[in-house]
Amino acid sequence: MKPVEAEVKTGKTESGKKFFFAKISFPLFGYILKRILIFIPTLFIISLLTFILISAAPGDPAETMLNRTSGEGQASDRLATERSYVALRHKLGLDLPIFYFAPTNLAVSDTLIRIPIKNHREMLDRLTYQYGNWAQIENYYHQLKSLEFAIVSSKKDSTNANALIELRNTAAKFFIHHEDVVLSALLVDLKNQSNVAANLTEVKAHAEAVATAYGKMKTEATTWEKYIPLVQWSGMHNQYHRWLFGEAKWFGTETDPTLGRGFIRGDYGVSFTTKRPVKSVIWDGLWITMLISLLVIIIEYIISIPLGISLAVRKGSTYDSGVTVALFLTYSLPVFWIGTMAIFFLCSPDYIEIFPSFGLGDAVWSDGFFYKLGDLAYHLTLPLIIASYASFAYLSRQMRGSMLTVLGQDYIRTARAKGLPDNKVIWKHAFRNSLLPIITIFASFFPALIGGSIILEFLFTIPGLGQITYAAVLQKDYPMILTNTMFAAILTLVGYLVSDILYAVVDPRISYSKK
């Protein structure tokens, strides 16, 4: 209570206007600041949740981006593709551990994640699970790699052509199998095939090395290691840290332009599909979605508040019951159905064509301002109607309910008893108090609109946040999905904040200063 009083006092001595300002806004600003501070950990947890969910996704992004062909072709080609693959993985940070720490066991090595190829990683993980001795497993893997290299780089001639093809196929199988039965059989195959031609001595030597390494891995197995739990600490060098904070310097100019600046510094990474920065796509979408959401909210409140009041005032009349039933039915109409029907019957040349069925208009930069505005309005009319009808039904019902509750209060009866006209009772005494529940709804309303943007923008092909997200989900474009989800969460939190502030403005009884 003290700081407020002090503020009031100083305000009073200076001017009346400042006094008012100090009285209202000092605690409110403090409150807003406090709320924003609370948002930070919430956002942090959301980022953690979404990031970890995304990193559980199947598939190898680097592989998808390169459209890698399987290991055919010349040795030099193969080495080149592998090198570019490794470089891309490094650029995307996929060779880093996912998080600051990870629960694991003694057998698992932290070098496993650096193995470039996904199948190989899985095979090595299996071997670790079976034998637990990482040093020997790594040795076995290196022997396999050099065998493969020896096979592709040995000279082809008429005597060994068939043998080389067979050898290559056998060697490839080693990289995807971990079962002892299969591998033993493959080792026998390898031995036989390398004996076919005389000029395969080098390959033969490598095949023997693989066999020894395999035997050693089996005899020196340390399976017990996987029963010792371990928390692996990876430090700041991990994917999450890299995504959120970036690697570039925080102060001063960065000399290396390839280093990312991280999500909180406005660098959202590169889209997997378009290979363009996510940032360039997302801002436009964000503005469109926000514009539509704000317009929808304004329309809904403008319609539903008077409607709800008029229903409450005429409670029990046929008007009331009729409209209430109609509102209930509208509320239950699925948006995507009504949207489809509207596009079907109002935008198609087969039936009635009064609205455009997709997009935000075909105006270009050179068109006049009013033409652009008109075009936008023409294209937005139907989407706005479709987006507002369901929640305006819900809002009106709520408004009616809260007005009825307020009208049943004692002070309204008192107001009526002292002879105030109906109009005055409703607008002066009941109205402001009945607004409170409607404002609380705003908090749950805004996220619903952001979520609903996916359907609406899908229906009308509007390039907003929802449509971008939908396309990204179809194409499994994870940086895009991640950024969109984060922005949807941020918008939601802003919505909560706005509803808190509105609440404070409407209801003077609510004090945000500490008692």
């Binding site: 996987k226 239950s332 979520g451 909560y496």
Partner: protein, 432 residues
């Protein structure tokens, strides 16, 4: 004594009888209840209502019940006779056959009526008996059959996902509401020990046996369950052994000190985080990391993202209940907190949750059909949303836009009306 028990019985009956009476007063709610019954009937008997196999047939002198047999095969307790394997059921020469009312399956194409034939278009069918009453889609699949089988999907999704959501919601919500931040007291060693042993239990039971379990599951469900059973056994052993150890360590004063677990704080933070991500975005995020979303995955996702409303509901209810006299009485009688929570507090707070479950079923059905409409729903079945989405591709096929959408609308509305009716019926203000 006898008087007391009869009084108690009367009172208990009294509440539900009252709710029932109030509910019956609302005509729309009662009608909705009947509509739900019809929907449940259609869902349960979908294979008998729309199927390509005859209900009963006489073939080469013997009588068969192919639809019943199909159900038995589905449950794994039977096999089709060799002469019926890989046959087109429609082309068999029956001596006598009774087909279901809709003689089509939702996934199978009618090659004579491809390119979406409408109900009023001329259809290439032998007689009215074989007419596609609700038309066909682009591939010639019967829309009515799809709607009948879609009812099954919609009802299953609504009920199962709400079941998941209510179990999570009721459990977490009641923990938060009943214990608050201070009322759950445990000794230090029990809290930290249990967290540690849960980790160890999980590590030895599932972490260190991960590939054993997945391999066994890959070989077959039976073997998988055996391995999972072993894992659960290991898990319980570790946790139980840990708690025995905790009992001994509790004697040390420092470790035995009682501390409070702030359930309310933790659970409310979790709810806040979940509510901060728009549900559809969260669901799409999860779908994007699932390889192939089938029906079970969709139900799981909707259930896992939909429990926060129920949790808040029951939390608010328990905040009221825990200060009532009968809880105090139970406390002074020396019952344990857990006993009071599960035996006295939750049952009394549960009835209002019915309201949010009714609305929740409507919401779950709507979410599933939205996902299907977006082409992200279960890929292995026909759903209403999926049928509706075909309408976007064929502007002439109004029957694809109207019928499935109407089915969604009716189902969602009935569950909403039931929720509305329950809200009014359980309103305590009416009781006076």
């Amino acid at each position: 004594m006898a008087e007391a028990t009869t009084l108690k019985a009367k009172n208990e009956q009294g509440y539900w009888a009252f709710v029932n009476k109030q509910f019956r007063k609302k005509k729309t709610a009662v009608i909705s209840l009947y509509v739900v019954m019809v929907l449940a009937f259609v869902a349960l008997f979908a294979p008998f209502l729309a199927n390509e196999k005859p209900l009963i047939c006489k073939y080469k002198g013997e009588t068969y019940f192919p639809v019943l047999k199909e159900l038995a095969v589905g449950f794994g307790i039977g096999e089709f006779q060799p002469q019926f394997q890989n046959v087109n059921w429609k082309n068999l020469q029956y001596e006598m056959a009774v087909f279901p009312p809709v003689p089509y399956l939702p996934m199978n194409q009618d090659d004579n009526n491809i390119h979406s034939k409408g109900p009023f278009d001329e259809q290439n069918v032998p007689s009215k008996r074989w007419k596609h009453w609700f038309g066909t889609d682009e591939l010639g699949r019967d829309v009515l059959a799809g709607m009948i089988h879609g009812t099954k999907i919609a009802m299953t999704v609504g009920i199962v996902s709400m079941l998941i959501a209510s179990v999570i919601g009721i459990l977490l919500g009641s923990l938060a509401g009943f214990y608050g931040d201070e009322n759950f007291q445990v000794s230090r060693v029990r809290l930290w020990g249990n967290l540690l042993f849960l980790f160890f239990g999980f590590f030895y039971a599932f972490g260190a046996r991960s590939y054993d379990i997945t391999d066994a599951l890959g070989r077959g469900l039976g073997e998988g369950f055996v391995q999972l059973g072993i894992s659960v056994l290991i898990f319980t052993t570790v946790v139980v052994a840990g708690n025995v150890l905790v009992m001994l360590l509790k004697k040390i004063p420092f470790l035995g000190k009682q501390i409070a677990v702030p359930f309310d704080l933790i659970i409310m933070r979790v709810i806040e985080v979940l509510n901060s991500i728009p549900t559809l975005f969260l669901i799409l995020l999860i779908i994007s990391i699932v390889r192939k979303p089938n029906l079970y995955v969709i139900m799981g996702i909707i259930g896992l993202t939909g429990w926060t409303g129920i949790a808040r509901f029951i939390r608010a209810e328990l905040l009221k209940v825990r200060n009532l006299e009968y809880i105090e009485a139970a406390n002074s009688l020396g019952y344990s907190n857990a006993h009071i929570l599960f035996k006295h507090a939750i049952p009394n707070a549960l009835s209002p949750v019915l309201i949010s479950i009714a609305f929740g079923i409507a919401g779950a059905i709507l979410t599933e059909s939205t996902l299907s409409f977006l082409g992200l729903g279960p890929a292995d079945t026909v759903t209403w949303g999926q049928l509706l989405s075909y309408a976007r591709q064929i502007p002439q096929a109004w029957w694809l836009a109207i019928f499935p959408g109407f089915a969604i609308f009716i189902t969602v509305t009935t569950f909403n009306l039931i929720g509305d009716g329950l809200t009014d019926a359980m309103d305590p203000r009416l009781k006076q």
